[in-house]
Symmetry: C2
Subunit: 125 residues, 2 copies
DNA sequence: CATATGATTCGATTATTCTAGAAATATGGA
DNA sequence: TCCATATTTCTAGAATAATCGAATCATATG
């Protein structure tokens, strides 16, 4: 990861609604949640939520798939892993003593959602 | 860690100068760097740097100690660990399958600087 | 095609953050 | 004490971000 990607990810998470939004998606795993479901749980107007979601998407932290009229969002754990690694880079004065960071991105690799027991859908855009 | 602490830490890191500042402190380890040294390396006016440093300190990411006329700053790795853990909390839909996150805070516990400073990381001038 | 539903874009407004010069504070030494 | 060095605080203008209603777009279905 390079600095501008890290900054985009940090800026995206550094806002109450967006952090709550992201943290709602974390336990939802590769199944994710629909946009309307998120707006309802967070009690935020749709236009406001949509703007926040746009920031998270632009930062690469959230991916989505259209399912009929609704859009299902999920956290991109690989991207979060990259951010966590970036934040600890060159730690230990380069002695290489830090254990590698790991999250469930290993357990739910990209594509897991498509293979999961969910209706077949196509990518947006 | 609770949400407001996480937000403060994320806001603190979500700014180019402050992220660069923090990343300068990471390889410096428990020895840290003086404020003036940081300002010089970042080519930022002292008042601007001081303001940014204040944000990082308020977020608990940077600790400092006065040494005569100068103030020596160092990254608080424990705080960063807590932030990283917060960002992956409830991952894996609560299956507890995520490996625990770990950084060198275990290797350099609080107080390490005073007792046993490591050899200084080479700095560019 | 007409209509309903889910989501985004467009605006204007309000709020927050960044920046850096000048002044102030803290420490050490002659 | 007086002076030099290191850092912070104060200030205010400039830049950026958040908010949300109304309009618009995309899709499904009768």
């Amino acid at each position: 990861m390079e600095i501008n990607e890290a900054l985009a990810a940090l800026r995206a998470l550094a806002q109450p609604t967006r952090l709550a939004l992201y943290r709602l998606l974390v336990p939802a795993g590769p199944t994710g949640m629909a946009v309307g479901e998120l707006a309802e749980q967070l009690s935020v107007p749709h236009s406001t939520l949509s703007a926040h979601l746009g920031v998270l998407r632009a930062a690469g932290l959230v991916l989505d798939t259209r399912e009929g009229r609704s859009i299902r969002c999920r956290a991109d754990f690989g991207r979060m892993d990259a951010l966590l690694a970036y934040l600890s880079e060159n730690c230990c004065a380069g002695h290489g003593a830090c254990a590698p960071l790991r999250t469930c991105s290993t357990l739910f690799p990209p594509g897991a959602a498509a293979r999961a027991p969910l209706p077949r859908v196509r990518q947006r855009r």
